[in-house]
């Protein structure tokens, strides 16, 4: 499944536009990451725990979006956008959405 955030895929023609597909997940950190983050608050630097947490969450949201696209018969998702928001303290919502399309393999 091709995933892209541009509208025209080079060398391919869109034969059908199938509409919007969305994937989201709400992830909470666990207490251990919080304590490490608290320490980092004093010393500064990258919060590796949170970075990993959010990457995993983003991957899962993308996977769900791709699952929706596959279920309706698409083979690509274009114009993908991501959105992160904090819906409750200590948890983040990762949201991915795009348009599912069917691509023709045009390149000779």
């Amino acid at each position: 499944m091709l995933v892209s955030n541009i509208e025209f895929i080079p060398g391919k023609k869109i034969s059908k536009h199938l509409g919007m597909v969305q994937g989201n997940t709400v992830r909470a950190k666990h207490a251990g990451r919080d304590i490490m983050a608290g320490l980092k608050n004093i010393f500064g630097g990258e919060l590796v725990g949170y970075t990993e947490l959010l990457s995993e969450a983003r991957e899962e949201a993308t996977a769900r979006m791709v699952a929706q696209a596959a279920a309706i018969g698409a083979n690509a998702v274009i114009n993908v956008r991501y959105s992160t928001s904090s819906v409750t303290a200590g948890a983040a919502e990762l949201f991915a959405y795009g348009t599912a399309v069917i691509l023709d393999n045009d390149r000779a």
Binding site: V26, A28, H30, A31, E60, V87, T88, A89
Partner: protein, 157 residues
């Protein structure tokens, strides 16, 4: 002893009413989505080449949904051990689909047949700490394409 009683009562109330409200909402969402099935939405920006004469108008729809006590406690427990908060996922799903439906409603009132460049914004009005009401707002907006022939003559239906 009294604290425990109040806590359990709120929990049961939150769960009961929350579940009922959620299933009712989902049913109404599925029904309305069937109605609006013919109003096409895309997140693309490029308009089709054969679109003909159309007017463009920005349409949007938003909704604010609040969490119930049960969801709040479940989220609190989950944030001790980490992982997915299923209760919030269903809340956000409802809010998003409702927002898109309201956007479609506005578009239909204008006589549109397609909406392009749909974007969604999620915000949390208050995170629900310290006895405040936690809530989630979703805003969906896009450009509606109104065929000039079908533009309603009189405003309002």
């Amino acid at each position: 002893m009294l604290d425990l009683g109040i806590f359990l009562t709120l929990l049961v109330l939150g769960y009961g009413f929350g579940r009922v409200a959620e299933s009712r909402h989902f049913r109404s969402i599925i029904e309305k989505e069937r109605d609006f099935q013919d109003l096409l939405t895309f997140s693309e920006r490029t308009l089709p080449t054969d679109i003909g004469d159309v007017d463009a108008a920005l349409v949007g729809g938003n909704v604010v949904i609040s969490i119930d006590y049960f969801k709040r406690i479940a989220a609190g427990l989950r944030s001790l051990v980490g992982g997915r908060i299923g209760a919030y996922e269903s809340l956000l799903e409802r809010a998003r689909r409702e927002a898109v439906l309201r956007m479609k409603q506005e578009a239909r009132a204008k006589g549109a047949t397609m909406i392009f460049n749909v974007k969604l914004e999620t915000a949390s009005i208050s995170k629900g700490q310290n006895q405040q009401v936690g809530s989630v707002e979703v805003y969906a907006y896009g450009t509606a394409l109104i065929p000039t022939a079908a533009r309603p003559v009189a405003s309002g239906v």
